[in-house]
Amino acid sequence: MAEPGRRRVGDGAATRRVLLGTVLLITAFAVLAPLAVIFSQALSRGLAVYGQSLLRPDTLHAVWLTLFTALICVPVNVGFGIAAAWTVTKFTFPGRGLLLALIELPFSISPIVAGVAYLFVYGAQGLLGPVLQAYDIKIMFAVPGIVLASLFVTSPFVAREIIPLMMAQGREEEEAAVTLGASGWRILRTVTLPNVRFALLYGAALCNARVMGEFGAVSVVSGNIRGQTSTLPLQIELLYQDAQATAAFAAATILAAVALLTLVAKLIIERFDTERERLTASEAAPGSTSLRPGH
């Protein structure tokens, strides 16, 4: 933000107008238009048709399966995120850097590659294929496969949000709690988690949005059996390929609404978070200006 009384590069009226205008114009075309077109297309044949499209049995089933997957993946990855963050921020040990890189690894891997990799573990021709077949356990092209692939894709989200914050906060508070005789669980519950609660919430919201919207990995492992293993994004593709555009856009509005709610949650969380930062600013440790990765 511009400091008052100091003129800096690019503060000239002409530069400002050109840059701001260009950015706003591109953003309107590149970000706002895609959002708007989803709702416009979904409602293009009226509210009644929109309602009917949402209540199709196969779409409802996809909604249910998507919620079910999120209901498993989000708590599991919150648990993993807390354990991973506790390990890498409260302790120093050889291989810590490597572990950090491993935690973030799924971000760099294409969802399609993740799906293929899972197929080579649990598919008929995979590592565990013969064993699973012998016991008649079905993971691929079934709900467990969808859950596993979603876990892979979204595992870093919570960890990534809370690790930089816990790193910056250091270990002093936890160490003080230990001296006072608190157990590990009690420290986690009463010291560590309250300190990162907003980042934790936002990580969970992002994880949720990504689980519900995952397409590539899930389309490999689900087999896309209509009314059985179609999550919402897959259902959108099925409907679209059937030339049922309105129904596809109606289903898309559900996911778009989830995305918008996630962003609203972020705005609210940030508001509370800056207030907390302002309150604790005086006691913040010097040099705690970590490179907080955007998002």
Binding site: M1, V37, A101, V116, F120, E214, E237, L255, K266
Partner: protein, 273 residues
Amino acid sequence: MFSVIPGFRLSLGITLTYLGLIVLLPIAALILQAADVGFARYITIITSPRTLASFQITIGAAAVATVFNALYGLMLAWVLVRYEFPGRRFLDTLVDVPFALPTAVAGLALTALFAKNGWFGAPLEAWGIQVAYAPAGIVCAMAFTSIPFVVRTVQPVLEDLSADLEEAATTLGASELRVFCTVIMPAIFPAFLAGASLAFARSLGEFGAVVFIAGNQPFRTEIVALLTFIRLEEYDYAAAAAIAATMLGFAFLMLLTVNLIQAWHQRRAIRED
């Protein structure tokens, strides 16, 4: 392990077990499967005309999308950090839309926009430009899904930049453009490069958004991720393993690049302190 805080073994145990089962096991299975293919056959698969064409299309489109996002992202970061204007917070939130919106929904929306009778497609059609079901569509889908990377890496660095050097340069008579090129750009360059690399890596692996808009014709608009998917559907597991392992290799390479750039950036930050 140097810490009085309890719970090291438990938390490390949970973390390693989970990472092992959910992340490392599938990656190892993919590498094993690809190793099974054998070197000669791997080369045949990767150098087949259709595979090569898909790599060419994917890398080319990702490069163009990254150039767009580098320029747009830099301007966005600049506007968000340097200017105060109504709706700044709203714009800042909009930047995250491509991350929050599922890729399949993005693909569907972009296809509707660029279809022959769409909001963008109709005017472009009059100019004789086709985007949907053409290589340009792939670029659009990749560009959309990777918008936030450059913005979010450059933004914090630009915020921390002190005004002193800039003022000194201006006082000594340097033009605004010269100050930007010789004072500001060098300071934000590592972050800028890291963001662009992340955007490029994401574009290389993008699937959901692209398959809707690309039309998916072999040799023209078929990306690598889709070819992998097609090989799987044909039960050609050797080809799927070979291509997926190559994509994995690219991902590791990009990860290494980003980490090297960030290490360079941190070394510089420490030196400047």
